[in-house]
């Protein structure tokens, strides 16, 4: 009897909670903070600084959404997640969105039931080898020992690549990039493979970066992007357009420096006016106020600014834009029109 009462109470609580969490947007607004899943530390993408403030390229997406929805880019609860805990945290509702170097794949979309709202970084899996090995192509790596992070798409890509080229390898499974760095430098593996952005940031920390080469072969597509749960399209729209705003702003030349003057009074450019709330009712359609985009841009800047600050020339990593340049400059970053 007691048990059935307990189960009944649980079911009722579940029902009540199910009704209450019908809209993530309303939940976030009433809570006053955005729960954003990030990594436990990946260089350039998310890491706490000495003051305990999270910084990074993925962190900026969280801050952009918080700025749009809550009007305060600091109203974010950052939830550190590991490769193993990230998806459960998202599907169980512990976090509202996941912005955590997560590759968009069919199975994650359809089977795990997540909606990838965009691609904020086009990455690809590469190889780093010591220069003295004299290797110039990944196809010459027959019989090599390879340091590889377990539980990631890179592990599967590696197996596919070696199988299609009919060559063999010996995996050295590792848990984190830092561990891989030590193993690789200590000579436990001949090759270190992971996303090319991580290879570059890892090599930048070596004492003699010139002794190591990153092979030109990129064996996979790793479109990394922010993710939300299936079934709440209004919330997915908010996250998608918060991110698109950053890309569109770079295209339109709006920066964190000039967004103040541009949002104070209407400009000659109707696209800018629509984005910054002088024309139309874009914010209202998303369930936000007209100033949503202006707040994003004054908080984190446009896509290019965020890239330069966290990954590009202004950071210690110094990555080139490459595929992540705007489509007008030969890259893939392209925002649908704000209209």
């Amino acid at each position: 009897m007691n048990k059935s009462v307990f189960l009944g109470a649980m079911a009722f609580a579940g029902l009540a909670a199910g009704v209450a969490s019908a809209g993530t947007l309303d939940d976030v607004k009433s809570r006053g903070t955005l729960n954003c899943g990030v990594t436990t530390g990946v260089v350039g993408f998310s890491a706490p600084n000495a003051e305990g403030v999270w910084e990074g390229f993925d962190v900026d997406v969280c801050r952009a959404v918080a700025a749009a929805v809550l009007g305060d880019s600091t109203a974010v609860e950052f939830v550190p997640t590991t490769p193993k805990t990230r998806f459960t945290a998202l599907s169980a509702g512990e976090i509202d969105m996941l912005s955590r170097v997560t590759t968009w794949t069919l199975s994650r979309d359809a089977d795990l039931k997540f909606t990838f709202v965009g691609v904020n970084y086009y990455d690809g899996q590469g190889f780093m080898v010591p220069k003295e090995l004299g290797v110039s192509s990944a196809k010459e790596l027959d019989g090599a020992t390879v340091c590889i992070q377990t539980g990631t798409t890179t592990e599967l890509n590696l197996a596919d690549f070696f199988r299609t080229n009919n060559i063999s390898y010996e995996p050295v499974p590792i848990e984190t990039v830092a561990e891989a760095q030590q193993q690789y430098l200590a000579g436990a593996c001949d090759v270190f493979t992971t996303d090319a952005s991580q290879l570059a940031s890892t090599r930048a920390t070596f004492e003699t970066p010139a002794d190591h080469v990153i092979l030109s072969d990129i064996i996979s597509k790793e479109p990394l992007g922010p993710t939300v749960r299936h079934g709440d399209d209004e919330w997915a729209d908010v996250v998608r357009w918060s991110y698109n705003t950053m890309v569109a702003a770079e295209e339109l030349g709006i920066t964190s420096a000039n967004v103040g003057t541009m949002s104070a009074s209407a400009t000659d450019n109707p696209e800018i006016n629509r984005l910054l709330g002088h024309e139309g009712n874009m914010g209202e359609m998303l369930g936000l106020d007209p100033q949503w985009a202006a707040r994003i841009l004054s908080a984190v800047g446009n896509y290019g600014e965020s890239f330069e600050r966290n990954l590009g020339g202004q950071s210690a990593i110094g990555l080139a834009r490459g595929l992540n340049a705007l489509w007008t400059e030969g890259g893939l970053q392209y925002s649908p029109p704000v209209r």
Binding site: A17, S21, T40, G41, E77, P80, Q181, T205
Partner: protein, 435 residues
Amino acid sequence: MSDTSYVRTEMLEQREPPASTVGVIGWARANLFSSALNSVLTLVALGFVAYILSALIPWTFQSVWNAESLSECREIMIATWGSTHGHACWAVINDRWLQMLYGFYPSHLYWRVNLALVLTLAALAPVLFSEKSPRQMIYLTLAYPFIMPWLMWGGSIWNPISAAVGFAIVFFGTRHLTAMTGSLIAIIASVIAALLWWMAISAPVVAGLSSVIPIGIETVQSREFGGFMLALLLGIVAIGVSLPIGILLALGRQSDLMIVKAICVGFIEFIRGVPLITLLFVASLLLNVFLPPGTNFDIILRVMIMMTLFSAAYMAEVIRGGLAALPKGQYEGADSLGLNYWQAQRLIIMPQALKISIPGIVSTFIGIFKDTTLVSIIGLLDVIGFSTAIRADANWNGIYWELFAFIAVLFFVVCFSMSRYSMYLERKLQTGHKR
């Protein structure tokens, strides 16, 4: 007969023992070079120690303390010693030590963590050094389980008070109802009353009191907990709560009541049959799926419960070992004195059983304290988790040994103190089983 005697009539002056058998030389001869094999082993061991120290001492002491990044550290090393090998870059500790100790805890509230730690030591004093501390301090120990969480998490002062009221209901209810209804009914009734208070009545009462008399301190979210503080917090809670639960489980396992025994055996064997990391994954992932979405069941609380249950199962078995070592005569003696079950346990059995189990209990404590670092695998930023997060800062990417050396020192200090205390306790409680 001549007077010549072959027997010495006066004592010789006492002489110093030969120089080769006393002092440093004597000690070395007796202990290090007593045979050819020992001499060789000594020389090899000395050579090994010297080799390790010759690398370790320059690494530790010829080091950089002030730098902004690893590359700056390396520049300073090149400028000073001409090479980057064999020199530590302690600047990372200098830069981030507060974070490694306190996590994301707000820096203007560090005093609360420090005060909680001081209170922990003060509250432990009457338990650990009972004869050396004033009797009144036991009241602090009783109040500590309510003060410590309040200091750590903050919030209204009425929360810990209402929690304490529940325990007061159990205590006084049992005491006063026993005469009227008998002990079993008294216990059940007062526990139900306390549960009613906690579940239903206390929340509105606390809300009312907080609005009338709003006394409180700034609230700190569990997510802001981290660093070594988290290890200490989890360790103290798991250690403090698992000992009483473990005693009850051990007694339950030896009990004649079939259901009690079955529950205790089932619990102990289930928990001991499952790795801790599995339980932590259950706490962080499975519970999320089973609980209704939007339920806010604090992750640190979940982890605390799991670690406590885990350590309680091991504790129960350690204490059962102590109970099994007691001769049956002790139980019979207690019975013949007319003591009831709980009196016999409290006065006769437990003092002896616990004394026997001290080394096992303390090594379980040390084990569970070190196991707290496993929480980094489920994404909590404890001190190990922070070492990863610090490396993810572009300034410190690639630094490794210095962070782990710092963590090792922190853990060594705590674990070594525990182990020394257990040896002190064993000496104190020794009652002549060995000379």
